[in-house]
């Protein structure tokens, strides 16, 4: 990319950087002289370039003046001077708008210049041409592209590639030439004196040409398939990176159309055995990535070969290869750790690799593939290791250990010991320590047994901690968790020490923490001693500390006077629920922007979703687990073939904006959407008297994602009502849909317990727009489950392209369209929730229900587990959401709470796979007997 990127690395030992204004003046004088002194001008240009490479910039008018003076050098026919002129024009083009003035001169060089300057001239066309002038270079570029000279041909291809976003119309006409350039093997002109030292070709042109063809055809599946079939099987592609590119194209094809995978299997086998390491790597990456999303389509044998290939690459001499193989294995280890375990011997020997990147990666993988058996021995290995690596690697290791605590809650002791050891004895900066503290906070949150040990050690840690932010976090944690510990006064003492010894930020945080002990613990003597401490603090010299102490005293006072649990003070100091922040934020900002009575109406918080502590933990745990999984797909993007990352994203954006949001939106966005939809619903007048929104389901697809009209449904549950929301997207480009209505019919109308109240249709759905149609029902019982057959009806109207309105006389066509069944199931009434000690809770719950199922479809255990998690809306616990791939049985543990009344429900589901299918035994326990049997009996 830009020469600017390596600016910082050019150390001062490379000589003094010339003075900017001196160079500027010299350029203006020298370049305008007649005749031109080419040697002096060349030196001057190289100094100018050096300046720019060092990150120096010129104002636009200076750059323009420089450009015009440089352009005068075109009068001198000297190839080496001309090459530098081109470099300078390319650099100045980033600042000056006027470089188009060089167009004619450049084109002349493209046509008549020597082979030496032609490639430079061609490449600089990229910076001077625009939409209106690109066509004038078409003929020149085409003949350069088919040139026998590889450098010239490559330059033309690269230029076209970069011009594509500028002038798609022109570049579209280049596909024949590009195709020819892939096939044509080009050699450097032979110079007999040099053959010994120089290769006669690198065949890089093939790579460039393939990149261009791909950009031209990337939306045309058939054309890409043809391309792959033409080149993949034979040996016509000599360039190594062109071959890698081909693998990437196949990767994209199979990810878009998974059914294609099978037909490519022989090819993959072949590629895994290719002589180039890069091709083996890319293919293994393709297979393992694809396996993560479509496990059933990958033949187990092929998958094992891919792993074996990676395993082999772990012990090759080339560092980059070892590193890449590790990266792929690392991602794999997050989803299917058991598959990676075969590489453990190699990984263990890499711990001592002299390259620290490699050893760190090896360790993190080992940590992820670790089983309950070897965790503690691994931890003792890294305890020695971690003190020797740099901060960055330490953080990577800490993160890996942190995931361990989520995956092996039963190993919390050795994990916590490790974290405490590095916290107290490890050398490192803020980020490192903060990560450790965060990891400990995680352990405390998700493994309740660990609480006391963690808190005590954190208390020791804050006795000598230099980072304010970390201290404040620990104090907050102590205030939150300390009051319910067995010996609260221990923590009170530590906190009070901070008040005596630290700065005002920490003193303020301590005050809050202290007051929590007084309020939430019903212990009079403790309360009294805290009150006397706070009274002392109320004389602090800092305003904030004083204010907090005073208000805390007031709160404590009121909370002792009233019933403690219901008091305002208690709610403020020790909240039991938290607002959904995304929803709160959007409501607040619309409150601010829509304010038209100078804030006379107070902000209304009642409609904002609230989460209880357990719900919040469930959400956090899910998010963390997803982040782990995400690692797998972090490189999904990367695998789509691209020659270079372009700074200008115009092209990409234009294509993307045409396609509406894809069906697999990522989880975080999904949550935002959920919030958005429920906010929209709650703000509509029609639903005002339905009361509080109890729960909203996940978005379910009701059509194929590539249908003309894409429909997705959401079920909103109220106390006495149910609302179905149908989001409909019109993917047509020239037709509007009027009066769009979804008619929803219960599958068994006689037995339906839902009474349809009203429908809110979509008046007009324009092309590529999304809108929602709502249907509201009243329900008689708490939990109603039913299935609905749905049809959308609408009137299509053709649009006048001029006005984007339907043609005046067009009455339109009535049309209808059947979509998938929508199920209102027990899971829709459940919210996932976290519980620290699943087994104990499960045993305690009073009502039990057992059901047995047989699934005859051919489906993997993992797929069943995924479906169960979705259909029950429960949170998988103890890491049971992952099925080890080499087993035929699995136990899934799920926990949730009724969205209506918060009663607990827990499930243990045993799955066994045999040749006949999958047998499933679900055991449910719950506070509420009906909920229990509803859930257990309607699992599938």
């Amino acid at each position: 990319m830009s020469t600017r990127t390596y600016k910082k690395f050019e150390a001062s030992d490379s000589g003094d950087i010339p003075d900017k204004m001196t160079i500027y003046q010299d350029c203006m004088n020298q370049f305008n002289e007649s005749p031109v002194n080419s040697k002096r001008c060349r030196t001057l240009l190289s100094r100018l370039l050096r300046l720019l490479a060092n990150g120096e910039t010129f104002t636009e008018s200076e750059a323009t003046a420089l450009f015009f003076s440089v352009s005068k050098l075109f009068q001198h026919q000297n190839d080496s001077l001309r090459q530098l002129v081109y470099l300078a024009i390319k650099e100045l083009s980033k600042i000056s708008q006027d470089v188009l003035m060089a167009t004619s001169s450049i084109m002349k060089d493209v046509q008549n210049g020597s082979d030496l300057i032609k490639p430079n001239a061609i490449r600089s066309l990229t910076v001077v041409l625009d939409e209106t002038t690109a066509f004038s270079a078409e003929r020149l570029l085409k003949s350069a592209m088919v040139s026998k000279h590889p450098t010239i041909s490559s330059a033309a291809i690269a230029t076209c590639y970069n011009l594509l976003p500028v002038s798609e119309q022109t570049i579209k006409r280049f596909s024949n030439e590009a195709q020819e350039a892939i096939v044509d093997l080009k050699y450097f002109p032979q110079d007999p004196s040099n053959t010994e030292f120089y290769p006669n070709s690198t065949f890089i042109t093939q790579y460039h040409a393939l990149g261009l063809i791909y950009e031209l055809k990337k939306n045309d599946k058939m054309a890409l398939l043809k391309l792959v079939n033409q080149f993949a099987g034979n040996n016509s592609i000599k360039s190594q990176i062109a071959k890698v590119q081909l693998v990437k194209i196949v990767s994209e094809l199979v990810n878009k159309d998974p059914q294609l995978f099978t037909q490519f299997q022989p090819l993959f086998n072949n590629w895994l055995g290719n002589k180039f390491e890069s091709i083996q790597l890319e293919t293994a990456k393709l297979i393992t990535n694809f396996h993560a999303t479509h496990p059933r389509l990958v033949a187990p044998q092929l998958f094992s070969i891919a792993i074996a290939t990676l395993q082999n690459l772990l012990s090759v001499p080339r560092v980059a290869t070892r590193f890449s193989a590790l990266r792929i294995l690392n991602r794999l280890s997050m989803v299917t750790p058991d598959h990676v375990a075969v590489c453990n011997p190699e990984l263990e020997s890499l711990i001592n690799d002299s390259n620290r990147n490699i050893s760190t990666y090896a360790i993190t993988i080992l940590l992820k593939t670790g089983t309950a058996k070897n965790i503690s021995s691994l931890i003792s290995t890294i305890t020695k290791f971690i003190h020797e690596v740099s901060d960055d690697f330490k953080i990577i290791i800490i993160d890996a250990v942190r995931t361990l605590s989520l995956n092996f809650p039963q190993e919390w002791k050795s994990i916590l010991n490790f974290l405490i050891d590095v916290l107290k004895n490890g050398e490192g900066g803020f980020k490192f320590k903060n990560n450790i503290v965060e990891a400990i906070i995680d352990v405390v949150a998700f493994v309740p047994q660990s609480k006391e040990m963690a808190l005590e050690n954190l208390c020791d840690f804050i006795e000598d901690c230099e980072f304010n932010e970390i201290l404040v976090r620990v104090l907050h944690l102590l205030g939150k968790e300390g009051p319910t510990a067995s010996n609260p006064s221990l923590y009170v003492r530590h906190i009070y020490n901070r008040v005596v010894l630290e700065n005002s930020i920490i003193r303020s945080a301590s005050v809050i923490a202290l007051s929590k002990f007084a309020i939430s613990k019903n212990d009079t003597s403790l309360r009294e001693s805290i009150v006397s401490l706070l009274k002392r603090i109320a004389n602090d010299k800092d305003d904030e500390v004083r204010d907090r102490a005073t208000i805390a005293l007031k709160f404590i006072d009121t909370s002792t006077a009233n019933e403690p649990t219901s008091s305002l003070a208690d709610e403020l100091i020790h909240p039991t629920s938290a607002y959904d922040l995304a929803s709160l934020e959007s409501k607040l900002s619309s409150y601010l922007s829509e304010n038209n009575d100078s804030f006379k109406t107070p902000f209304d918080v009642t409609n904002i979703r609230k989460y209880s502590d357990d719900e919040l933990k469930a959400i956090n745990l899910k998010r963390k687990q997803e982040q782990l999984q995400k690692g797998t797909f972090e490189n999904g993007m990367e695998s789509s073939p691209k020659m270079a990352k372009k700074s200008d994203n115009k092209y990409g954006k234009r294509i993307d904006s045409d396609t509406y949001s894809s069906p697999n939106i990522d989880e975080q966005q999904q949550e935002l959407l959920d919030t958005k939809y429920s906010d929209e619903l709650l703000s509509m007048a029609e639903f005002q008297n339905f009361g509080k929104l109890v729960n909203s389901s996940k978005i379910v697809a009701l059509t194929e994602p590539e249908a003309e009209f894409v429909v997705r449904g959401i079920k909103h549950i109220f106390k006495d009502h149910v609302v179905f929301q149908f989001n409909i997207t019109n993917t047509l480009t020239d037709v509007a849909l009027d009066n769009v209505v979804v008619s929803c019919n219960p599958e068994e109308p006689e037995e339906s317990q839902l009474q349809e109240l009203f429908i809110i249709p979509i008046e007009r759905l324009l092309p590529s727009a999304e809108a929602s149609c709502y249907i509201a029902y009243s329900k008689t019982e708490d939990v109603v489950t039913e299935s609905f057959l749905n049809t959308i009806t609408f009137t299509t109207k053709e649009l006048d392209p001029q006005t984007n309105e339907p043609f005046e006389a067009d009455e339109g066509f009535q049309d209808e369209y059947e979509i998938d069944t929508l199920y209102l199931s027990t899971g829709d009434y459940i919210k996932s929730s976290f519980i620290g000690n699943f087994t104990a809770t499960f045993d305690e719950l009073p009502n039990e229900e057992v059901a047995v199922y047989n699934i005859q479809e051919s489906i993997t255990l993992q797929e069943v587990v995924d479906k169960l998690i979705t259909s029950t809306s429960c949170l998988p616990l103890e890491n049971t959401q992952f099925v080890h791939s080499d087993t035929n049985s699995h136990i899934l543990k799920l926990f949730g709470k009724s969205a209506l009344n918060g009663s607990k429900v827990a499930l243990v589901i045993k799955l066994i796979k045999s040749s006949k299918g999958i047998a499933l035994k679900a055991q449910g326990k719950a506070e509420n007997a009906t909920l229990c049997s509803d859930l257990v009996n309607n699992l599938i």
């Binding site: 305008n32 007649s34 005749p35 015009f68 352009s71 005068k72 075109f74 009068q75 026919q77 006027d98 188009l100 003035m101 060089a102 167009t103 004619s104 001169s105 002349k108 002038t133 004038s136």
Partner: protein
């Protein structure tokens, strides 16, 4: 030593000094055609000039540095970036393009007002004389208001770049003027 002599020699014969000449005029007037007629003596097929062409040619023992600047409206503002050290301007007019005579005249006079061009000689080619209905040189001269020009050596020559007529006559006059002024 050798260098010293050769540069003495060059100075005496004036062949080291390059003479800067600009060819200006509206788009399509025939500037690029004239430049290459001068350089290679042939008619080349041209495309609208986006930017400029520059060629060095030797004419009557003089080294000429000839700049042909594009004439489109979008390019005209850039002419002034190339005015420095210009010995002469050749202004080319399409004699058949009566509609744009006034535009040509306006551009010409605006350019001549520039400080940097005060000492430059002006040669106007009333080009495309081979075409029926072309205005004559004196008609073009009137349209361009050339008589108004004081304190400047100027001349107008009827030409056809395609047929190669008038070009050398015009250039001969220009060279004479330049030589005179430089002596």
């Amino acid at each position: 030593m050798g260098n010293y002599f050769s540069s003495m020699f060059d100075k005496l014969w004036g062949s080291n000094k390059e003479i800067r000449i600009l060819i200006l005029g509206l788009d399509g007037a025939g500037k690029t055609t004239i430049l290459y007629r001068l350089q290679i003596g042939e008619v080349v097929t041209t495309k609208p000039t986006i930017g400029f062409n520059v060629e060095t040619l030797t004419y009557k023992n003089l080294k000429l540095n000839v700049w042909d600047l594009g004439g489109q409206t979008s390019i005209r503002p850039y002419w002034r970036c190339y005015y420095t050290d210009t010995a002469a301007v050749i202004f080319v007019v399409d004699s058949t393009d009566k509609d744009r005579m006034s535009t040509a005249s306006k551009e010409l006079h605006m350019m001549l007002q520039e400080e940097e061009l005060q000492d430059s000689a002006l040669l106007v080619f009333a080009n495309k004389q081979d075409q029926p209905g072309a205005l004559t040189a004196s008609e073009v001269s009137k349209e361009l208001n050339l008589v108004e020009l004081k304190e400047r050596s100027w001349s107008i020559v009827a030409s056809s770049a395609i047929k190669g007529e008038g070009i050398t006559e015009g250039l001969d006059w220009l060279i004479d003027v330049i030589k005179e002024e430089q002596l």
